[in-house]
């Protein structure tokens, strides 16, 4: 299905060497009555040292499942995950620990991911002891970690319990905990969406700083495509378990090709463009937004045929109902999975051989 995908180069590749790779990864969940949900379908992407790849999509699109697959917290249904070029085989607890020392995960909710009965010190000491090996100066490392996430004075914070910290401070502790293992890959699942808007930027810039300092390969999962524009090198747009569009962050947000990406971009609040917004002025025009009002279809359908977006897509035809389009390269670093790119994004498709799949151009 995705023969063309490997011809795409990641926009993040220029930043550093390849760290992690997902090759045609799929995950099915059995939901009873003999039915399965394909949460992740044939997804391929790569993470590079010192680069941020953003996985963008709405709730239920499978973006967290994809990250959990990379983190080794779910078994793959099919496909392969490679770390530093070697396929990952986790068969024993030791394997898993070695894997986790390379690949760390930051959870969305800092209120739930820290144990309320333990101090910050305990949260950080454990991974340092586990992954640091014998002879590590645990105390010094813990202090260094907490300073890295800019919680100062460090000693004072180490003695605190999670309930004594603000949301932002808790999330910093989560970052420090993830860094304790000295990973090469950091999977951040909506790391700022639970935080106040006024500190989100600070946290993202902290993450950016950590990425540079430790040349981390980072997967940034979010539903906020605007933050991906600022933070990520490459954006992968996920819908119903599939990557429907990928490419450099700036290009994707400024000139979305896939109808779903277009919907996503059109839905983001846009104070800079009040005149044309859906809510003010052009209020009556809201029916024109592609796919609006059909959000009920966003969950992965149990029976799958055709393009997953076709029930909401304004450009859908018979073919979209029958055949699922593969990720079609638009440029060397950019691709979209749509049969009708020539209609959906004519200015982009004109550069394609054959004018973006169908006949004329």
């Amino acid at each position: 299905m995705s023969e063309q995908a490997p011809t795409l180069t990641s926009a993040a590749a220029a930043r550093g060497p390849l760290a992690m790779e997902a090759v045609s990864v799929s995950k099915d969940f059995k939901i009873g009555h003999g039915q399965t949900v394909q949460a992740v379908r044939d997804v391929s992407f790569s993470l590079y040292r010192g680069a941020v790849v953003a996985l963008v999509g709405e709730s239920g699109s499978g973006k967290s499942t994809a990250a959990r697959l990379l983190a080794g917290q779910e078994r793959l249904t099919s496909g392969q995950i490679k770390l530093d070029g070697t396929p990952v085989e986790v068969t024993s607890r030791g394997d898993f620990r070695r894997y986790k020392s390379q690949v760390q995960y930051v959870f969305q909710d800092p209120f739930a991911s820290l144990n309320p009965v333990h101090t910050v010190r305990y949260h950080l000491e454990r991974p340092v002891k586990l992954h640091g090996g014998k002879g590590a100066d645990v105390d010094a490392e813990v202090v260094a970690l907490i300073e890295q996430v800019r919680l100062t004075p460090a000693r004072q914070f180490l003695a605190k319990y999670p309930h004594e910290l603000s949301g932002g401070q808790r999330q910093r502790v989560s970052f420090a905990r993830a860094l304790a293992a000295r990973p090469s890959v950091l999977l951040a699942d909506e790391p700022v969406s639970m935080l106040d808007v006024s500190i989100r930027l600070e946290m993202l810039s902290l993450l950016d700083d950590l990425r540079q300092r430790f040349s981390l390969a980072m997967l940034y999962i979010t539903h906020d495509i605007a933050s991906a524009r600022y933070f990520a090198d490459e954006v992968l747009v996920m819908y119903a378990g599939e990557i429907v569009e990928r490419g450099p962050a700036e290009e994707i947000t400024q000139q979305p090709a896939h109808p779903y990406t277009q919907l996503l971009v059109a839905s983001a609040p846009d104070p800079d463009n009040l005149g044309s917004s859906v809510l003010r002025g052009g209020r009556k025009a809201n029916g024109k937004r592609p796919g609006a009002g059909a959000a009920a279809h966003s969950q992965q359908s149990v029976t799958t045929a055709g393009c997953p977006f076709h029930p909401r897509c304004p450009f859908a035809d018979d073919r979209c109902q029958r055949e699922d389009p593969a990720l079609l390269p638009i440029t060397a670093t950019r691709g979209a999975a749509c049969w009708h790119l020539d209609v959906a994004a004519p200015e982009l498709a004109s550069g394609l051989p054959g004018g973006g799949r169908t006949t004329t151009n």
């Binding site: 006024s198 609040p269 809510l279 209020r283």
Partner: protein, 375 residues
């Protein structure tokens, strides 16, 4: 920090095009404290706010800024240790004969006012709906509690409420867990509208939803508002949303209002450094990439609020004079909007400057002027 209500010019003149009549809800000098063993926490400090008929007011602020406490206090929905220490909340609806002070109503009168006149869409639809009742029973509950109507008619009304928010009638028999997050939120909105209230308070109704669904619901809210003519007090921490949705925006910080103006004014002519900071906290999707700053630091501890301006510890323009400033909303003289008021007397030229303070020259630019290297 002395008493001020007499001299503080308030935005009595509704500044939005949607408004024009007397305010439906007039919050005056409202203060709410939380009584704790360590002393009172001033969650809401002498707040004045007007909501005109048919108007959408956005109340923006960080968590802990007191925005929810303000509106729950105004509806008397708070319980101990929260205590309303001063103020009045005058409601003047089309259906009531004379203005009533919500804070001084008897329990019976209050019961009649709530939901019938002022309804609330609560923050988390997940928790606000009863998991063991289906949608129809929950709607009927509201209808029977607040409206007198025969059973058949109530059922018909429940069904038509779902039509109103765009949910198929077949969903009447669904339980909350069978609905998606967006649908649950729509049910919450339908419940709030069941009694055709004059004022609908929405407490972060879309925070848990993703952008596509959020936009659908907001568009629907705006449509319903125009159709039914209620006023909305919309609470959120997402200022970018309010810029699109609200007629006027009130920015709240540490229990006080720092700035009130039309959405347009807030967007282009924000005068308070905190508002500017909030505006600069959003990555914009369109237009050129600009450097984003956010607001370093965290809100003050309201147990012992700092003297003067509560935003001073985080303010880029702060001076020693700010510690002595008397927090009150004064009109921004340079503004086209007569209702534009700000609590910061120093930032914009033309605003009244107390004798001991000097204006900050670098702060006189357009909102973009606050941009500074973000990392």
């Amino acid at each position: 920090m002395s008493a001020h209500p007499d001299q503080a010019p308030l935005p009595v003149e509704p500044s939005s095009p949607a408004a024009g009549q007397d305010p439906v809800l007039q919050i005056r000098d409202l203060s709410v404290v939380y009584r704790t063993p360590g002393g009172d926490v001033r969650a809401v400090d002498r707040v004045n706010l007007d909501l005109a008929a048919g108007e959408v007011i956005g109340l923006a602020g960080e968590s802990g800024s007191g925005k929810s406490t303000l509106v729950y206090g105004a509806c008397r929905l708070l319980r101990a240790p929260a205590l309303i220490t001063s103020g009045s909340v005058v409601y003047t609806g089309r259906r009531v004969t004379k203005p009533a002070d919500v804070l001084r109503l008897s329990p019976d009168e209050l019961q009649h006012l709530r939901w019938r006149e002022i309804a609330i869409v609560f923050q988390s639809a997940m928790n606000a709906l009863n998991p063991v009742l289906n949608v129809r029973d929950q709607l009927l509950d509201v209808i029977h509690a607040h409206l007198r109507m025969p059973r058949d008619q109530a059922r018909e009304r429940a069904a038509s409420l779902l039509d109103l928010v765009g949910i198929p009638r077949a969903r009447l028999r669904s339980y909350p867990h069978e609905l998606s997050g967006g649908m649950r939120q729509r049910v919450m909105i339908a419940m709030a509208l069941a009694t055709e209230p004059e004022v609908v308070i929405m407490d972060e109704p879309t925070t848990a939803l993703d952008v596509v669904v959020q936009r659908d619901i907001l568009a629907q809210i705006v449509e319903l508002k125009e159709q039914l003519g209620f006023s909305i007090l919309f609470i959120t921490h997402d200022l970018s949303l309010l810029l699109e949705l609200a007629d006027r925006i009130a920015v709240m910080y540490a229990g006080q209002l720092l700035e009130i103006a039309t959405a347009e004014e807030i967007h282009h002519e924000a005068s308070h450094p905190y508002t500017k900071g909030l505006l600069n906290s959003f990555p914009s999707l369109r237009g050129p990439r600009r450097e984003l700053a956010g607001i370093p630091g965290s809100p003050p501890d309201l147990h012992s609020p700092p003297p003067g301006c509560p935003f001073l510890p985080r303010c880029r323009y702060g001076t020693a004079a700010c510690e002595r400033v008397d927090m009150q909303l004064l009109p921004v003289a340079t503004s086209k909007d007569p209702g534009h008021v700000t609590a910061c007397p120093f930032v914009l030229p033309g605003t009244p400057v107390p004798p001991e303070a000097e204006p900050q020259p670098e702060a006189t630019g357009e909102p973009e002027a606050t941009g500074e290297p973000g990392t």
